[in-house]
Assembly symmetry: C2
Homo-oligomer: 336 residues x 2
């Protein structure tokens, strides 16, 4: 691994804000969008933080992502609403949608927002954490361009459709943030560049054999859905639900475009702390998590971890010591 | 495979009804419970139909499942309610809970019921299909006794927590019904008896190697969660959410009992046909499904299928020609 700079959160945040302001973002929106990219990086999800920022800037410059629009309400039915993202800024649209789902949950116990016609939300975990901070269980997912073959085929047809579940627990929420592919294309490409193998089979080679060779999987286009047929089915129903609830485009529709845009997303918030009391939620979650952490690990293996545990540790470390950034990437960003 | 009797749906239904009436079930509840067991068998899910019926009868006789109780409302907050299953009949409790979620969705756009203190629901798909028949997207899941080790351990600590998503589409809904383990213990035991291997790695042997040998997996207790760490994390958050939303027992609590009882379940219904119109729902779903079915299959592989497609074909075949039942099992049931 190349040596990394360690840069303070605020310095990255300011730098990204400067760039977004120059692109014509309104002041508070520039700050907020830059914050999300910075926080994703701080949390160790650089693939959906700084690494994606140059591509995001290009998408803004080419007009794929529109900076001046905000989501508009299309239809409301009590606890569920449908919004149009107007092809705006994915992370800001998603944040607004989850905030609205949280508002809806205050009156109805739970709230749901379907958001059509939006752009890549970067890291879905951002919006799950938002719900948990508000004392809600947060559930959200997005469809994507076709990235995987369904089980039994070699043709890309289904998205990897990341799904997020976040459970509030004071400063230490539980955050599951997972795509339906076993490994992301980004991960496969990184390992191919490094000449490394995957830790476990991540797809099929051209001969239909399971393989840990990232190159073979990228060549065959046969990345493995989690759990073989199960993840394939789950990806399909997530796309169906997103297209229906958002009344938006499906993976099939999106894949007919040259670049991924106009995706459909769903945001749910369940106001669990109002229903049970924050102390009761913490008590119940802690009883499960403490017991879970007591599970003996395999000989030589690291301790068993709950989803999001590593992320929170990384966040705290990086807030203290600075966020590791590849020097070349940082230079690229400073020159933007 | 042993030769099977083919028995008509109504004959099985009447036979099971007779047995439940003799156990003290009220007439309409006996009929309905027998219907669910029969339909599960008819749909090809014999593992959660007739195969489970003798065990269910034992659970009733020993008092683990209480036949005379009905779920009671504990707390209501708009679109979300919490019910106590009173350790009653799992399938009838679950049906009532999904029916209530559908009712809630009529006024609020979506409805959610958390059900604590209930028993095994047999096949979760039953309740998803119920929602789809009512024009709703149905989502439900249950926790279970500890059945799998979390990723990185060899100690059983997490449930396989089956999850169901059902999407309405006239007579042909899409039904995903999946546990978080790659293969069920039932499947492993069947293959062990037959001396057969799994089609793909389903767990680890005692040496920590991935294996297709069902015996090795049953010995090591290391069944594989779908997608390794991903299914392990998903099983954990499903348990957390079920325990919180139902204010009920977690997998940890349930596993302290001698037998699985007092599980927690969640039922959600999204009234999508009221929101979009049934024709629009069908149109959107069909556009996705028809395109999906067009995916070329791998050489020599069967055609790509959507979740629930095989089940619906099996149902129609069995309604026409009778339901295949193992002769010994049928004798056992007739003598009950």
């Amino acid at each position: 691994m190349r040596s990394m700079n360690r840069i303070h959160f605020d310095e990255i945040w300011q730098e990204l804000t400067r760039i977004l302001l120059a692109l014509g973002f309104e002041n508070s929106r520039a700050k907020r969008c830059a914050y999300i990219f910075t926080e994703n990086t701080c949390d160790g999800v650089t693939s959906h933080g700084l690494n994606r920022f140059p591509g995001f800037v290009t998408a803004v410059k080419t007009g794929l992502v529109k900076t001046q629009v905000e989501p508009e309400l299309v239809r409301s039915l009590g606890a569920i609403e449908q919004w149009d993202g107007m092809r705006g800024v994915g992370p800001l649209n998603a944040e607004k949608a989850m905030k609205r789902a949280i508002e809806l949950s205050r009156g109805h116990g739970l709230g749901c927002v379907g958001l059509c016609n939006t752009n890549h939300w970067m890291r879905g975990g951002t919006y799950g954490l938002l719900a948990a901070e508000a004392g809600c269980i947060g559930i959200c997912w997005t469809n994507t361009i076709a990235l995987m073959p369904p089980w039994g085929s070699a043709e890309r047809k289904i998205g990897n459709n990341p799904m997020v579940v976040c459970i509030p627990r004071g400063e230490d929420p539980i955050l599951l943030d997972m795509a339906m592919s076993q490994f992301s294309n980004g991960k496969l490409e990184v390992l191919r560049r490094r000449g490394e193998q995957l830790p476990l089979a991540g797809g099929y080679d051209e001969n239909g054999e399971l393989t840990t060779d990232p190159n073979a999987i990228l060549e065959s286009c046969r990345a493995l859905p989690i759990g073989y047929w199960k993840g394939s089915g789950l990806a399909l129903v997530l796309d169906l639900m997103a297209s229906l609830i958002a009344n938006g485009d499906s993976t099939r529709d999106i894949s007919q475009r040259e670049k991924e845009t106009g995706v459909s997303q769903v945001f749910m918030a369940i106001d669990i702390e109002s229903q049970m009391g924050a102390a009761n939620v913490d008590g119940k979650v802690n009883a499960i998590i403490h017991d879970f952490l007591d599970t003996p690990s395999l000989k030589g293996a690291p301790k068993v971890r709950y989803p999001g545990q590593g992320m929170l540790a990384t966040r705290r470390e990086n807030l203290r010591t600075g966020i590791p950034v590849e020097p070349e990437l940082w230079q690229t960003i400073q020159r933007m």
